[in-house]
């Protein structure tokens, strides 16, 4: 058995696992990645957008061939009622572009290949059934009839971290900390996408929507332009949706009919329908990140920040993969794999990932429990803009009068003030 022992076994060839594998392999370690999907990426899904500073950090100057879809050069926020929509459409000529739309089947396959080229061994099509423990220390994994040993196991197994949960290393994820995402990938030609979004090849838009699209439940809809397809979907708070008793799949399908979105996908063809969970609990829901012989990275650790206008997870997953690899390297150098030796992982994460999660520790609570965000405010915005643009010959009013008319009877000024103040301090 000893000749089959790896220095590090990583569960999951998503972006966190492959980032860690890439770094470890580059450092000359014997690293094995076990992936449950038929191929890396086969079980993964994103909205989605990747903030690419994280790739630059992982492999400076080496990610030019990454399968990125379109650079996001236009950000649109939509507030919707069933009939109307008010959009804030932003383009920033003054900013270096920082993010790209991505599709995980391609991105994950590419990153896993990079790790493999660097010397990591990747076994897809293998579901990890459990961990091996020796004297209380994690000492390997079980998959099928096989037992594989390692000095250190990094779980980058994703949001349903059943391996870590069932071995008792982390407490089970809580429904209140989870959002569910549903996505349609709709095929359209590159030219049509360029035309409809007033853009050129290689560049595109990110659209986030709140209001009727999520039926007033905490969450929102998204639309991202890929090279030759559009990703259109819905993300909602799992617990709130359970309480709402609304049919999730139906509401997700209805997205395609909303006039503000329908025009973008007209004539397109559905090529994939997917769903995935997102660990949105943030700082207050973080599990234990290390144990003897064990580290937790990416979605399994809950490294996601949703501020409403930006949703980040894949960049944090990559950063946590890098940090896990660095901590693993130090542990291997020292030959010590105890929990206290692995604490350096948390210290590394503290510099950015945990720091960001800490800064936005109230954002999940705010987003999940400020009901006016999804009902009253989109309605107010639409009504106000309608009133402002309305010219029907009746006596005209000043803007202040129109604002009063729009708000009157829908919400108290005190509630608006409270939500603004709380939002400013949470997001």
């Amino acid at each position: 058995m000893s000749d089959e022992k790896f220095q590090v076994i990583i569960i999951g060839a998503g972006v966190a696992g492959s980032a860690a594998a890439y770094r470890l392999a580059k450092a000359g370690r014997e690293v094995l990645v076990v992936e449950k999907g038929r191929a890396p990426g086969a079980k993964n899904m994103t909205g989605g957008r990747l903030y690419t500073y994280a790739l630059e950090e992982l492999m400076p100057g080496e990610w030019a061939d990454a399968p990125l879809e379109r650079e996001v050069t236009r950000e649109i926020m939509m507030m919707m009622t069933p009939e109307d929509c008010v959009s804030i459409d932003s383009t920033f000529g003054s900013l270096e572009q920082q993010s790209y739309t991505v599709l995980r089947a391609k991105l994950d396959a590419w990153l896993a290949e990079k790790a493999e080229e660097a010397g990591a061994m990747i076994i897809p099509g293998s579901t990890v059934d459990g961990l091996i423990f020796k004297d209380g220390k994690v000492a390997g994994i079980k998959t099928g009839d096989e037992e594989l040993e390692a000095d250190l196991v990094i779980s980058a197994e994703g949001v349903n971290a059943t391996v870590a949960e069932r071995s008792g290393l982390i407490r089970p994820v809580n429904l209140k900390d989870i959002a569910v995402g549903v996505k349609h990938v709709i095929k359209l030609s590159e030219e049509i996408i360029n035309e409809r979004f007033n853009t050129v090849s290689g560049k595109g838009a990110a659209v986030l929507c709140v209001g009727d699209c999520n039926r007033g439940i905490s969450g929102g809809a998204f639309l991202y332009t890929n090279k030759e397809s559009i990703s259109l979907g819905l993300v909602v708070d799992s617990q709130s949706w359970k309480n709402s008793k609304l049919p999730l799949a139906d509401v997700a399908e209805s997205l395609k009919q909303h006039p503000a979105l329908a025009r973008y996908i007209e004539g397109g063809e559905l090529v994939e329908y997917s769903a995935h969970l997102i660990p949105e609990g943030g700082f207050n829901s973080l599990p234990q990140l290390c144990a003897d012989g064990f580290l937790l990275a990416g979605d399994a650790a809950g490294f996601v920040v949703n501020r409403g206008f930006t949703v980040r997870g894949m960049d944090y997953a990559i950063l946590s993969g890098i940090a896990a690899a660095e901590a693993a390297n130090e542990a291997i150098e020292a030959g010590v794999y105890t929990k206290s030796a692995l604490k350096s992982y948390e210290n590394k994460l503290q510099q950015r990932v945990l720091k960001d999660l800490g800064v936005f520790k109230k954002s999940h609570d705010y987003i999940a429990h400020s009901r006016h965000l999804y009902t009253t405010y989109p309605r107010l915005a639409a009504d106000l803009m309608k009133n402002i643009y309305n010219v029907d010959g009746s006596p005209a009013k000043l803007v202040t009068g129109l604002v009063k008319q729009s708000i009157s009877g829908k919400i108290s000024y005190f509630d608006v003030f409270k939500d603004m103040l709380k939002g400013g301090r949470s997001l």
Binding site: T46, T127, N160, G267, V271, S274, A275, L277
Partner: protein, 100 residues
């Protein structure tokens, strides 16, 4: 775009399914005593339906997108109550996202 039925939506996906062995187990008899039946409206793939004629849950694991939402909204799946369990399919079986 016209509305598509769930079957039509799922037909666009690639699955390599084990038709006989389900990765999710539920006790349909025991499900009768469930107070919320959230699985019937929270599953993005509509795999759980309430069969009103027989007053019984019907569940089809083929077509499951493996999101795990049922694992969290159903207390019995979540706690692994007797007759209930949630696992990913083994050996690369199940959904194979080509876009993701």
């Amino acid at each position: 775009m016209k509305r598509l039925s769930m079957d039509d939506r799922l037909a666009k996906n690639r699955f390599d399914s084990d038709d006989h062995n389900s990765h999710i187990l539920v006790d349909k008899e025991a499900c009768r005593s469930c107070g919320h039946r959230a699985c019937t409206y929270c599953c993005p793939a509509e795999r759980y339906k309430w069969d009103t004629i027989n007053d019984k849950l019907s569940f089809d694991h083929v077509g499951c997108l493996e999101c795990g939402n049922c694992r969290l909204i159903c207390e019995r799946l979540n706690q692994g109550a007797e007759g209930y369990s949630w696992n990913y399919p083994g050996q690369g079986i199940g959904i194979i996202f080509r876009e993701g």
